[in-house]
């Protein structure tokens, strides 16, 4: 089963250019319901307000990093099951393992392609939806 194209997605990256790129790619994939935040500190209140069904976040951001945001979300009773995809330039094995342990659902290293983004989103929603692959 594929992901719901109407789901509300939060894209968190401190670089507005990267947020635009991801937003455009998502639009190409049919996802038009996208909101943005520039770091973990601005993302958390948006998440806590509710309604976000998928989180795409960078790691390296001033203020709250993506890893800290990931840990906050997993520690929050209302948000803990939110699917999270990390899209980051952080490429150390140790870091990828740390993100995996913290409960990330997918990990994409920058620079990435439109095909990679589609593949990872599909994979995440196949796994979390009952009856999916």
């Amino acid at each position: 089963m594929a992901a719901d194209k109407k789901m509300k997605i939060l894209v968190v990256d401190d670089f507005s250019t990267m947020r635009r790129i991801i937003k455009n790619l998502l639009r190409d994939l049919g996802y038009n319901n996208v909101v943005e935040a520039d770091d973990g500190n601005t993302a958390l209140p948006i998440l806590q307000k509710g309604g976000i069904e998928f989180l795409i976040t960078d790691w390296n951001m001033p203020g709250m990093t993506g890893l800290e945001l990931l840990k906050h979300v997993r520690a929050d009773a209302n948000l803990k099951d939110l699917p999270i995809l990390m899209v980051t330039a952080e490429a150390k094995r140790e870091q990828i393992m740390e993100a995996a342990q913290a409960g990330v659902n997918g990990y994409i290293v920058k620079p990435f392609t439109a095909a990679t983004l589609r593949e990872k989103i599909d994979k995440i929603f196949e796994r979390i939806q009952p009856g999916g692959g």
Binding site: M61, A91, A100, Y107, V109, K110, P111
Partner: protein
């Protein structure tokens, strides 16, 4: 710059005694005696200068020694600065590649858009002629074939156009990646600046209260903190084993962890 205190006081006493004897000699008309006292005074002054110079040399030596023991500074000069140079060179390469990627996409799109515009204008003209009943049956059949071919061309061209627009879109990721690298270099420059200020401070005054051990965080602390905050993009100089080389390796690593 003259040092006050016990040394200075003793020297002043010697000066005073010599000055009194000099005055006595001058008043008594003893030129030879006066000359001798002036020589003594010059000697006294030189001794003072040498002592001062000795103190300064020792301070400088201590300062240099202190910096020599500072691992972080050694690390900065030995690896971080050359590393920063490499990173900035990588920024040049990345921005250049991104610009070329975008320009190539534009150069590819421009003639496609031009062809569509020219051909649609020509066919619109023919279509209007048909609506004005100016075409005979053979000309209409010809127009039909041309319209069909044009529709196919529009389909192919627009597909190619959106592909190239996507290419131009993806090329803009350089701004994020180079921005992260430049930020890291700025942090390094700030650190070097801080160290230079400290160098000036401890060479400008005697090192009394603060010792060599009092320097910034150790190498490992810096590395661990950086890892938590995020390192920024890997550059070709980072081609070590602990860095993945692309998405395939990320996928392998995650699947080995049961993902």
């Amino acid at each position: 710059m003259a040092r006050q205190g016990a040394d200075g006081g003793a020297a002043m006493e010697e000066y005073r005694a010599a000055a009194q004897r000099l005055l006595e000699c001058v008043e008594a008309g003893d030129a030879e005696g006066a000359q001798g006292i002036i020589d003594d005074l010059t000697h006294l002054r030189e001794t003072e200068l040498f002592r001062e110079l000795g103190t300064l040399t020792r301070d400088l030596h201590e300062a240099i020694k202190a910096f020599h023991y500072d691992d972080r500074l050694v690390d900065l000069t030995a690896s971080e600065i050359p590393d920063a140079r490499e990173r900035l060179n990588y920024v040049i390469t990345m921005t250049e590649q991104a610009a070329h990627r975008t320009l190539t996409a534009i150069e590819d799109c421009t003639p496609l858009a031009q062809e569509l515009s020219d051909e649609s204008a020509r066919l619109a003209e023919r279509w209007h002629a048909f609506r004005r009943r100016e075409l005979d049956a053979a000309q209409f059949r010809q127009l039909n074939r041309e319209l069909e071919a044009f529709l196919e061309q529009v389909q192919g061209h627009s597909q190619r156009l959106s592909q190239q627009l996507n290419e131009a879109l993806m090329a803009q990721d350089y701004q994020d990646l180079t921005g992260q690298i430049i930020r890291r270099v700025i942090a390094l420059v700030e650190e070097v600046e801080g160290n230079l200020v400290q160098l000036v401070r401890i060479s400008g005054q005697r090192m009394s209260d603060e010792g060599a051990s009092e320097s910034g965080p150790g190498k490992e602390e810096v590395a661990a903190e950086r890892m938590r905050r995020g390192e920024g993009p890997a550059t070709p100089s980072d081609s070590s084993d602990d860095v993945v080389s692309g998405q395939d390796e990320v996928d392998d690593l995650l699947s080995s962890l049961g993902f």
